[in-house]
Point group: C2
Chain length 218, copies 2
């Protein structure tokens, strides 16, 4: 059977010796899903990817979780990477396992990051690679681009604001909404006004639009 199409290695060193040539063999496409960008840091691979991107039109896509934007350094790094032509998108889910697919032919899956050497599974089985690639596409398609994700400064909204927001979204009049939230009409409207200020909205319609666009709801 296809046993030779799948093998597992433990630790970065073994990965390099047994699969290093795969990284450097990348031709057209390099896709990668991970929690944060620092986990795959094989210098040689990076070198090759950088070169190929310049020369041939190598297509590099990285799907990351919001954790990748936690600190300023990571954010800068991503910007730099993106400026070199790498497509970076942010998904709302954690993505604890790192996934790399090379030229739609080779796939490397990393186990969870836990104490001890990390486990990597390398496979070239077309069925496996194709299936994972399809799922990656589905996740990629609906993820938001890095630029949008950062620029869309979702203003920080506390629980109160969210309650007001829900009431507005439910389509109630101010009076019923205020009663529902146990506020006076005056304060409720104050809240709405504050919300609109935060959203830089001139009308309620515009405010709703922003909320919908930024997915501040749900």
């Amino acid at each position: 059977m296809a046993a030779d199409q799948v093998f597992t290695v433990r630790g970065d060193a073994e990965l390099v010796t047994r699969a290093g040539h795969l990284f450097t063999s990348v031709r057209q496409e390099f896709v990668c899903a991970a929690r944060d960008p620092d986990t795959w840091s094989l210098p040689a691979a990076r070198q090759v990817i950088n070169n190929n991107m310049q020369a041939t039109g190598l297509d590099v896509s990285k799907l990351l979780s919001p954790a990748a934007l936690a600190d300023e350094a990571a954010r800068l790094h991503l910007h730099e990477v993106a400026s070199k032509g790498v497509h970076v998108r942010i998904s709302s889910t954690p993505l604890p396992h790192e996934t790399i697919i090379i030229d739609r032919r080779v796939m490397i899956l990393a186990g969870r990051d836990r104490p001890g050497p990390r486990e990597y599974t390398v496979t070239t089985s077309p069925t496996l690679v194709g299936g994972v690639y399809a799922l990656f596409q589905a996740a990629w398609e609906t993820a938001t681009d890095l630029a949008d994700f950062l620029h869309g400064d979702a203003p920080h909204l506390d629980a109160d604001s969210l309650a007001v927001l829900r009431a507005l979204g439910a389509g109630h009049t101010d009076e019923t909404a205020a009663r529902q939230l146990g506020l006076s009409l005056r304060t409720y409207r104050r809240r709405v006004a504050e919300l609109m200020t935060k959203l830089e909205a001139a009308s309620r319609f515009q405010a709703g639009l922003r909320v919908g666009e930024l997915r501040l709801n749900s």
Copy 2:
């Protein structure tokens, strides 16, 4: 190595004999991504799943491509399935490979549907299953629920409506918006009212929210 954790079979018959017990062993969770729901039709498996869903709180999730809603029959079938408690979501990507993950322990990937017996790859490797599961989650998270997908019929908007929509989105008052569009205040407001009817919105905020959510803008 973990060769026994991965094996490939050809054709449904072989899949049943070699992996049928896996289907019937499902305990807590059964997730499935596929182009359309008819491809996995092992009657025995269905039986088990139906029973378990009633008895224990078996969690069944199906992620499908819009192709699954092509004809009326499929749509009805999905409604029926959903009414039994199965979570059904629609992703915008094709999902040509079928993927099944059972209890986060076993994974079955089907090759592309092509002439000849279909190829299935079955694996229990935690790394592989975990990685694919994470990607599935990412795709699932951002997919739209079946009900929303069907009900959220993005109302057809003509050029006029879009102009009104832009004016509203710009945050103008009705008066300036009407002047800008060369309409009387009365007709402009009529247009807004029509728009809100189409969007089934009770307030302008709600209308804006809908527009933003459905990306009717942009």
